[in-house]
Amino acid sequence: MTSVLYDVPGPRARARSRVISLLGIVLIAGGLVALVVVLGLPKASANGAVQPGLWDASRWDVFNDVQVWRTLGIGALNTLRMAAVAAVLALIVGVLFSFGRAADSAWVRIPTTVVLEFFRGMPVLLMMLFILLVFSTGSFWAGVSALAVYNGAIIGEALRAGIKALPSGQREAGLAIGLTPVATRFRIEFPQAFRQMLPIIIAQLVVLLKDTSLAFVVGYNELLRSGNYNLSQFFGNRYQFSFFFVVLVIYLAMNLSLSWLARIIARRTGSQSGGVTATDTTKGPAKPGDPNLVYANALGAQSKGQY
């Protein structure tokens, strides 16, 4: 993108951009170092007592305790368990919603649309509280069902968009060979829509994993509650920052690896979902004899490559 916007830089421009880049590195690194140093300074609190800085060994010695790691591990497992159950349910809810919204009969379609808009426009946290208080399910199922319904609504919308984006010939062909409308939807349209929308669905599952931390508020012992809240209440305020730091790292490790997986799958399905037409156009004419065709293809490839 950027390479189109300006000419190829000459030696002077390159030198200048190198200088700016170096300045930027110095600026950013300096800011980070300053932040670390300021956090590490000993602090005087309001009553005059001086506490050691945040990187002081006395603030990190709890991590020698195996029980701390055990608690963190159980918290992480609880988070993953809630995410796994909610993800499976969200996929099921999403499929149901997508069928409801793409239904032929208005008696199904319109109520589904209203319910779906309602769920999409409401905060997950409010839904958790609602389920917890009204159905008294306990915090685990309150969190799971709220996450399943909310993310299911979004996945359903994505799937519906996928079904709608298919060429109408797919459905017509299914009907023409004698499949019932339901069978056409299940066996022809839905598998294609699902594959097309897989990147969006997985991105939504990353959001779901992040949102399990909301169950903190309804009292479920997931990673944030057990790591940040319970442990720092038990061991005292001095370890608060250390616990926060470790919990942050665990969350980042979980979410980044899932995002990374999502990206790989997106790339793989992206090249597949192009299907017949895409491979045909990129391959170009079978016989590269016609100079007009070759020339057109070369132009197209050029623009594509820079994009």
Binding site: L5, S21, R120
Partner: protein, 215 residues
């Protein structure tokens, strides 16, 4: 129903605070997002790397953790301008990478042929951006940007769990008082949220349709 009507002033106060958080964090995230997006498409390598790392880290941190940091750890580090402001800071930081991504995808969404054509008729970098790329990018950016703000409106509810009295906080307080009318109270709160999110969604959909015609 009477539980809702009796507590209407409390609801309205919560609604006002929700709107305040939305406005404050929305403006803050927009400004911060522009800065991050500019760094991300800038020719300077170190800025680009910094913005990428920032986006990846903040996007993969749960909002609850960010607000936990703001509500518990910033006061502990002797920075305490009040919980409302702290929550606004947390929401700003959390939303900014999403704004930046929406802006960046808009700029990237302009077809490269447009920029090529502009360059080939001799426009400079600044002219290409301001006359050709940006006018198209802005139109494409508005619907995803509105979606980011809808998500922000829903995310303000998390601040209610961290000592801010907004709609979710109001819901918690009133359901504590009136345990007999939980369903009515929570539905009323949901309606208040829908008052914000559904019109925004309709606006986004309408703009999207308009842009689709123009393209």
């Amino acid at each position: 129903m009477d539980a809702v009507i009796d507590n209407l002033p409390t609801f309205l106060e919560g609604f006002r605070n929700t709107l305040g958080l939305l406005a404050l964090a929305g403006i803050g995230a927009f400004i911060l997002g522009i800065v991050v997006a500019a760094m991300r498409i800038s020719p300077v390598g170190s800025f680009r790397a910094f913005a990428t790392v920032y986006t990846e880290i903040v996007r993969n941190t749960p909002l609850t953790l960010v607000l936990f940091f703001c509500a518990y750890l910033l006061p502990y580090l002797q920075f305490s301008p009040g919980y409302f402001q702290l929550a606004a800071i947390g929401l700003t930081v959390y939303t900014s990478p999403f704004v930046a991504e929406a802006l960046r995808s808009g700029v990237n969404g302009v077809h490269v042929g447009q920029a090529e054509a502009a360059r080939s008729i001799g426009l400079t970098f600044g002219q290409t951006l301001s006359f050709i790329v940006m006018p198209q990018a802005v139109r494409m950016v508005i619907p995803p940007l509105i979606n980011v703000f809808i998500a922000l409106a829903k995310n303000t509810s998390v601040a209610g769990a961290f000592f801010v009295f907004e709609l979710f906080g109001a819901a918690r307080q009133i359901t504590n008082d009136r345990g007999d009318a939980v369903i009515a109270i929570l539905l009323a709160v949901a309606v208040f949220y829908l008052i914000i999110t559904i019109p925004l969604g309709l606006v986004a959909g309408r703009i999207e349709k308009k842009v689709a015609v123009l393209r």
